[in-house]
């Protein structure tokens, strides 16, 4: 029953003390803007870093098992104290491969991997690409173009020629590699594999993904041509998986390790340092948000304590007239909540305006002419819900101390004029 009375008093005090109301709302709005700006910027930055790492590679790779060489002391009997001197014999230098891969493809598909976007059988290996006198080391991928495109989107990033429908004897290469080689569309390049095999292809397309590692060092040919260059017969060198949520890669890799007799690698294990950096960034973001919330809460509490002090006599008289502790407490709890709600609303509008403006700013690469966002902003409903929830909860919590002080006002002291 105390809500209507407390609410009406709270509203009236807020409209009467405009200066203090504006100050408190301003503190909350600034905090919400800061929280949303920081979290959107850091999340955007993380998305950009993660996508830089993961967009141009499979998230999980299924590769042939490495064969461990057998060494003499593996077979030593117990109690054999002989000191053995020697070297670990090297395995025969030959390409590791997966023979008869089609049934494995079917089996992997049947595993129903959660969030699987693409499954790509491919051959991959190091080659030297040459054009006239220029020779550059590169990575050659042999795969069906339509399937490979689900791992790295080359079709959308073509700057010349075509990718889908790539014929035998044709290749697409990155813009930087093409520039470095001085090769144009329709011209031929030669390949020399690590095993000493050679081949040629006509450039059918040139792509520019914006990823230096892809554009400067990647050549894609049809699967058959790759198998032929690396003399794999019908075998492949592995499967690549693309997942909807890149952060499930390690879990998916763990599941696959238990179910398949292959070596399974995830991008997360390969990029542990980058992930560590992202985690540190997330922690920093959370700390900034925490400090902002605390300072905002303290500011609200301080302003409301001043309000309670200035209303000390009136509150005492209200209590003398029969106002319960709950009614007096509710006045300030309502004020804290309303001020936070208004501040959070204004802060949300301000941060949206700021974030949309910042995300409209572009920077253009001097080398490629490609326009990218100057600030990597990620505007998510989750961030906004968390930011606003924190602000309102902070306002309510911050009002508890001044409200409890108000509820404890002793009418006798007021009447005595103390």
């Amino acid at each position: 029953m105390s809500a209507p009375f407390a609410l009406s008093v709270a509203l009236r005090q807020m409209t009467h003390n405009r200066g203090q109301t504006l100050l408190t709302v301003g503190v909350v709005a600034t905090s919400v803007t800061l929280i949303l700006f920081i979290s959107s910027l850091i999340m955007g930055l993380q998305i950009r870093i993660v996508s830089t790492v993961t967009d141009s590679i499979p998230h999980v790779r299924i590769l042939p098992q490495e064969r461990a060489p057998e060494v003499p002391w593996d077979n030593a009997t117990a109690g054999d104290a002989t000191v053995r001197v020697g070297v670990v014999p090297k395995l025969e230098q030959r390409q590791r491969k997966i023979e008869g891969w089609q049934p494995w493809l079917d089996r992997i598909e049947a595993l129903d991997i959660p969030g699987l976007n693409a499954l790509l059988p491919s051959v991959e290996g190091g080659v030297v690409v040459s054009r006239e006198s220029k020779r550059i080391s590169a990575r050659l991928v042999g795969a069906a173009p339509e399937d490979y495109n689900r791992i790295v989107d080359l079709q959308q990033n073509l700057v010349a020629g075509r990718f889908f429908g790539l014929n035998g004897g044709e290749a697409v290469i990155g813009l930087k590699l093409a520039t470095d080689l001085g090769v144009r569309l329709g011209e031929r390049v030669s390949f020399l594999s690590a095993e000493g095999n050679t081949g040629t292809a006509t450039i059918a397309g040139i792509f520019d993904t914006g990823f230096g590692a892809v554009d400067g060092f990647t050549v894609v040919v049809p699967l058959r041509d790759g198998q032929s260059l690396f003399q794999l017969g019908n075998a492949i060198t592995g499967f690549g998986l693309k997942l909807r949520d890149v952060f499930t890669a390690e879990q998916v890799a763990g599941d696959l390790r238990r179910q398949l007799p292959f070596k399974i690698e995830s991008w997360m294990a390969d990029n542990e340092r980058a992930l560590g950096g992202l985690r540190a960034q997330s922690q920093s973001s959370r700390m900034i948000v925490a400090f902002t919330v605390i300072s905002s809460g303290l500011a609200i509490a301080a302003l409301m304590v001043i309000s309670v002090s200035s209303k000390y006599r009136e509150l005492g008289i209200l209590k003398a007239m029969g106002a319960s502790n709950g009614q007096v407490l509710s006045i300030f709890a309502w004020q804290g909540t309303l001020l936070s709600l208004i501040g959070a609303g204004l802060g949300t509008l301000a941060s949206l305006a700021l974030l949309f403006w910042l995300s409209s700013l572009k920077t253009v690469s001097l080398t490629t002419g490609r326009a990218t966002d100057l600030f990597p902003i990620a505007i998510t409903v989750g961030n906004f819900l968390i930011g606003n929830g924190l602000a309102v909860a902070t306002g309510l919590l911050a009002s508890i101390y001044p409200a409890s002080r108000a509820a404890k006002v002793d009418p006798i002291e007021v009447i005595r004029g103390q």
Binding site: M1, S2, P4, F5, S8, V9, R12, Q13, T15, H16, N17, R313, E314, G316, I317, L318, K319, A320, M321, G322, A323, S324, N325, Q327, P411, I412, V414, I415, R416, G417
Partner: protein, 239 residues
């Protein structure tokens, strides 16, 4: 108007000792009754226990001895919540300073006890309060904020606030202490009229002998005891 058989206020052997390293006895053996329609003044020198007695009567403090009945109910040992309810439903307070809420206009301030009671109480009492405003010459000041009223007008609004919830009796603590003599005379006449016309009881603490003589009865305290309890010659009219 609520009617209660018997005295509205009854004190029997009320005493008050404040704790601490050296306990201080503020009141001892206070016994008297106040009937409906009586205007009682409590006087005495500073430190004689006037304010302590008012606090006990207003259930703002608890007696350490004796019993207190208000409207026939033993209210000696009520907890804070029950005491608050009794104050809201049975008592009206007038203080030396008006303590009106600056954010509310005169009528809203006067109806504050009704708003505290919740429900439609404020709406029900509004016509009666408007009539009282008009009667006290405040008809045109209903929607003025306290800062737009004179000292006398502010105190009259405070008196109206004390009457808002139709209480059985009114406790007044030096109600004219901050007023000039003209306004003080007006307020004391008003309290006397309220007592007689509405058949309420008014208990007023004052150090002003002239003001006390406007009451029907004067109780004089000295060192925490009742020194005298005698009528002023202004007998209340029969209710």
């Amino acid at each position: 108007m609520k009617t209660i058989p018997g005295p509205l206020v009854s004190l029997a052997g009320i005493g008050k000792v404040y704790g601490g390293e050296v306990p201080t006895r503020a009141l001892r053996g206070i016994s008297f009754t106040v009937n409906a329609g009586e205007f009682v003044a409590i006087v005495g020198s500073s430190g004689c226990g006037k304010t302590t007695l008012l606090n006990l009567l207003g259930l703002l403090d608890r007696a350490t001895e004796g019993t207190l009945h208000l409207a026939g109910r033993n209210v000696t040992d009520l907890d804070a919540r029950e005491a608050g309810q009794v104050r809201r439903d049975l008592l009206g307070f007038i203080f030396q300073f008006h303590y009106l809420l600056p954010e509310f206009d005169a009528l809203e301030n006067a109806l504050m006890p009704c708003r505290l009671a919740g429900g439609d109480r404020a709406k029900e009492r509004e016509p009666a309060m408007r009539a009282l405003f008009a009667r006290l010459g405040l008809g045109t000041k209903i929607h003025k904020r306290p800062s737009q009223l004179s000292g006398g007008e502010q105190q009259r609004v405070a008196i109206l606030r004390a009457l808002a919830n139709d209480p059985l009796f009114i406790l007044a603590d030096e109600p004219t202490g901050n007023l000039d003599s003209r306004n003080a005379a007006e307020i004391s006449s008003l309290l006397r009229d309220v007592t007689r016309e509405t058949h309420r009881a008014v208990i007023m603490v004052t150090h002003d002998q002239e003001m006390a003589m406007k009451a029907d009865r004067v109780i004089t305290l000295r060192d925490g005891r009742i020194e005298s309890d005698r009528p002023t010659g202004r007998l209340p009219e029969a209710g």
